[in-house]
Each structure stands twice: as structure tokens, then as C-alpha cells.
């Protein structure tokens, strides 16, 4: 399974609509980095509206992909984290430190613009 990565001007948009298994998550990591490199993207929005479970492994992969994207010069904003997922992550003690987040895609794009202007 592959997660589609859409291009919008200088940005990349990803909406994760599938149940994330480990392989899919790791392939996504690689695909996204290649795409950033290929397109010279400056910003990425990853929308997690449809994601119902983020366990510590998936959280690690997400955290890594954000750090790796930053190394390539692209800012990443996470959007659409469900309340139940946020509660679970904090219960688990998983902190996505310093990761910009927004409620939905629209606010995510605004946030990205702010991040890039800083």
C-alpha cells in the first residue's frame, strides 16, 4: 500500500486515509523525502483526520519523517489529529515536541505559511 502525495504549488499535501501498518509508514517516509527532494518543496502538510490509532512506533516514524524533512529544508505541519488520538498519545507519554500542528487542512496551510515567513 502506498500513501498518495499531492503537490500544491510549493507544498506537498498528504492525507493518510488508511490504517497505518509499519511497512506503509516506512515506505511513506521514504516516498515523502524523495518527493520533497524531487520537487524542491518548502512545506508539507500531513493530515491525520482519518487516522484512528497512533502507537509509539507510528509516532516515532512521524516524528522522524518531520525531522528528516526539516533536514531537507521543508517545514512540516500535522493536521486533523483526532481528540481520542491526542488523548492516547499524551497518556502514552509520547510528545511530538516542537511539531507544528493545526486543527484542519485549511489552518494547516496557514500555519505553514507562518512557519515559512518566520
Amino acid at each position: 500500500m502506498r500513501i498518495p502525495i499531492l503537490k500544491l504549488y510549493d507544498y506537498l499535501l498528504i492525507s493518510i486515509q488508511v490504517e497505518l501498518d509499519d511497512q506503509t509508514a516506512l515506505r511513506f517516509q521514504e516516498d515523502l523525502l524523495n518527493k520533497i527532494h524531487q520537487e524542491g518543496s518548502s512545506g508539507v502538510v500531513i493530515d491525520l483526520t482519518s487516522v484512528e490509532v497512533i502507537d509509539s512506533f507510528i509516532a516515532k516514524v512521524l516524528g522522524d519523517v518531520i525531522a528528516m524533512s526539516n533536514l531537507l529544508g521543508a517545514k512540516v505541519v500535522l493536521t486533523g489529529i483526532q481528540p481520542a488520538v491526542a488523548i492516547t498519545l499524551v497518556d502514552m507519554g509520547v510528545k511530538l515536541k516542537g511539531v507544528p500542528t493545526a486543527l484542519d487542512l485549511e489552518q494547516g496551510l496557514e500555519k505553514l505559511q507562518q512557519e515559512l515567513e518566520r
Binding site: V53, S56, F57, A59, T88, V94
Partner: protein, 137 residues
């Protein structure tokens, strides 16, 4: 009532299968959204530990009932068992941030916080059984 379902974990797909099974059972019993996420995430961690450290094992879940203060409590019990190498230092794996797999180290202490009851039984070279329960409120 005793409905037990087990999922064999011997690949990454087993992790997904176990958590799907867990979510559907939690939903059936009447757990809300947030507890469904907690239970599903806990199962995911337990199943991943099996796959990561023991290669194979199984995750079984069942509905449990208990009379507590003249009221019938219902809940979900999850048993994750493997015949892997076992855990040498249980106290150490229950510390936040401890990891031997390069993960976040949030696994077992995280599971404990997500669930209401947690017990671990591990013998070196024999295997590990972790039992967790979440009660309906």
C-alpha cells in the same frame, strides 16, 4: 458470557489484525471513542512487542464481568503471550524511555497508563505473558 478471540502475531500484519479485532470488540462492549483508541493502541503495542522480541505469539481478548459493590462491571481483557526470550529485567522495561529496539520506549509503561489493570509474567528463555484489563465506566 465468554467470547474469546485470538489473533496470531507472526508478521507485521498480525499487529494490524490484532488491533482491528480489539477495536471491534471494544466497540461491541460499548466503550466510547477515547477508550476504544486507548485499548486499540495498547493492543498495538503488545502485538508489536511480540513481533519485535519473540517473532511470534498471540493476542487473545475477551469480555470479562465482575461484581463490584453490588454492580456488574464489564470490561475487556487482553492477554498477549509469547514463547520468546523473556524479559531479564522487568523493572527496567517499565521505565519510561527504556528501549532496546530503537523505538520511543513508550511501549509497556504507556500500555499500563492506557489500561486499568496490568500484569506481566516473564521467564527468561520461556516467554512472556502480559495481561491487561480495561473496565467500562
Amino acid at each position: 458470557m465468554s467470547v474469546q478471540s485470538c489473533v496470531e502475531v507472526n508478521s507485521e500484519w498480525g499487529i494490524v489484525a490484532a488491533r482491528q479485532e480489539g477495536r471491534s470488540l471494544a466497540k461491541d462492549i460499548g466503550f466510547g471513542n477515547v477508550d476504544q483508541a486507548r485499548i486499540t493502541t495498547a493492543i498495538s503495542e503488545l502485538a508489536r512487542n511480540i513481533y519485535l522480541y519473540a517473532n511470534q505469539g498471540k493476542v487473545c481478548m475477551e469480555v470479562v464481568e465482575l461484581f463490584d459493590k453490588h454492580k456488574l462491571k464489564r470490561g475487556i481483557k487482553v492477554v498477549a503471550a509469547d514463547q520468546g526470550p523473556g524479559i531479564t529485567d522487568v523493572r527496567q522495561v517499565m521505565e519510561d524511555g527504556f528501549t532496546t529496539s530503537g523505538g520511543l520506549g513508550a511501549g509497556l509503561p504507556g500500555v499500563k497508563r492506557l489500561m486499568d489493570e496490568f500484569s506481566i509474567d516473564s521467564k527468561e528463555n520461556e516467554g512472556t505473558t502480559i495481561t491487561v484489563v480495561k473496565w467500562l465506566r
